[in-house]
């Protein structure tokens, strides 16, 4: 758990850096995907129902996006709330309505 969390911390740190310094320059028809959010969604899809990795990923994702987004229009914590909300909504739907049996869950 600690190992996974540490890995997530480092990975999301670099992913957020990439997102805000490198990947934002590649837009698709004017839209820049939020790769950190996509990663958090990805982690949550393949997480075990009782696991906490999804929550940690959402938390780290939100924190690093808050740190590395330079827009003063958003208050600090904006991304954390969004990511946690995404986590909760996904959790709710995945637990109650969806199962992902194909790939071995994290």
């Amino acid at each position: 758990m600690i190992k996974k969390s540490l890995f997530l911390l480092i990975f999301i740190y670099f992913l957020a850096l990439f997102q805000t310094s490198f990947l934002f320059q590649f837009n698709f028809w004017g839209i820049v995907p939020n790769y950190v959010l996509l990663f958090v969604v990805f982690v949550n899809i393949f997480e075990k129902p009782e696991g906490k990795i999804g929550l940690i990923a959402a938390l780290f994702g939100g924190i690093f996006m808050d740190i590395f987004s330079f827009s003063s229009a958003y208050f600090f914590g904006f991304y954390i709330i969004i990511f946690l909300l995404v986590y909760l909504i996904m959790r709710f739907f995945l637990r109650n309505y969806v199962q992902v049996p194909i790939i071995k869950q994290i």
Binding site: L17, T20, S21, F22, F75, F76, G77, I80, I81, L84
Partner: protein, 264 residues
């Protein structure tokens, strides 16, 4: 149990929110951001530059159609602007010419009509101008430049165009005088842009570089129009008059806009 679960989440969320409020209000979030920026700045700069280069590179491919379209539009605009520039240049040239013509008309008692050369025939020492009988052009009217250089006279008049024979035409002759000297003669065209003065009395001294002007004697041309410069004198003992070879001032290449003297 479920209620307790929901309550737990609500409490956690409220706590997180409270922390954010404190962070934002106290400015502690700025300290956090600053620490992370210091830690990542060098790496971030590299990433930004690499991303920029890569984006430009791939953007070129992705937007090639758009760039091509923009380039086509720019080329079209450029051509249109060039065309306008040329038109403006022509208008400016015409304006300068007309101003000079008005000035010339003011300084002399000529009644002038501006015309444009539309054809040149060097072999016959003649040119075609864009005005004819409709515009009141008549045969034998003198044709000059804005600089008061004699070009020739109208030889043939059509409805909308006229032919002008240059003063170097073989059929052309006119009375001339040497500037500041009381010497008169008859200038005759030799063809091929050549000109000479005949009938210069033997006792008169004409030298090279003397300026030749039109004389009033002929009646066709006003007095004082520039004709050319004496190049060489032929003073043969056998002949009763002197001859002088003239270099005409007019240059066929530069004949573009001319003036017709309607009345003087």
């Amino acid at each position: 149990m479920r209620k307790l679960f929901i309550l737990k989440y609500i409490v956690i969320f409220s706590l997180i929110l409270a922390i954010f409020v404190v962070f934002n209000l106290t400015g502690f979030s700025k300290n956090i951001k600053n620490s992370f920026y210091s830690l990542s700045s060098s790496f971030q700069e590299e990433l930004l530059e690499t991303g920029n280069n890569a984006s430009n590179f791939f953007g070129g491919f992705l937007n090639s159609g758009k760039i091509k379209q923009e380039m086509d539009i720019l080329i079209e605009e450029n051509q249109e602007l060039l065309s306008r520039l040329v038109n403006l240049g022509m208008l400016e040239q015409e304006n300068t010419f007309l101003r000079s013509a008005i000035e010339l008309e003011k300084n002399n008692s000529f009644k002038l009509q501006p015309v444009r050369v539309i054809g040149k025939d060097i072999s016959r020492d003649s040119i075609l101008i864009n005005k004819g009988s409709k515009d009141g052009i008549l045969s034998d009217m003198p044709v000059i430049t804005v600089q008061k250089l004699l070009v020739g006279k109208i030889s043939e008049v059509y409805e909308d165009f006229s032919e002008v024979i240059l003063l170097t035409n073989k059929d052309f002759s006119l009375a001339v005088q040497i500037f500041e000297k009381d010497i008169y003669g008859v200038a005759k065209g030799e063809g091929s842009l050549g000109l000479y003065i005949d009938l210069i009395p033997k006792d008169k001294e004409v030298i090279a570089k003397d300026i030749v002007l039109t004389a009033i004697l002929g009646g066709i041309f006003p007095e004082g129009l520039l004709v050319g410069e004496v190049q060489k004198i032929n003073n043969s003992d056998v002949e009763s008059f002197q001859k002088a070879i003239i270099i005409p001032f007019l240059s066929l290449e530069e004949l573009d806009e001319l003036l017709i003297i309607n009345d003087f």
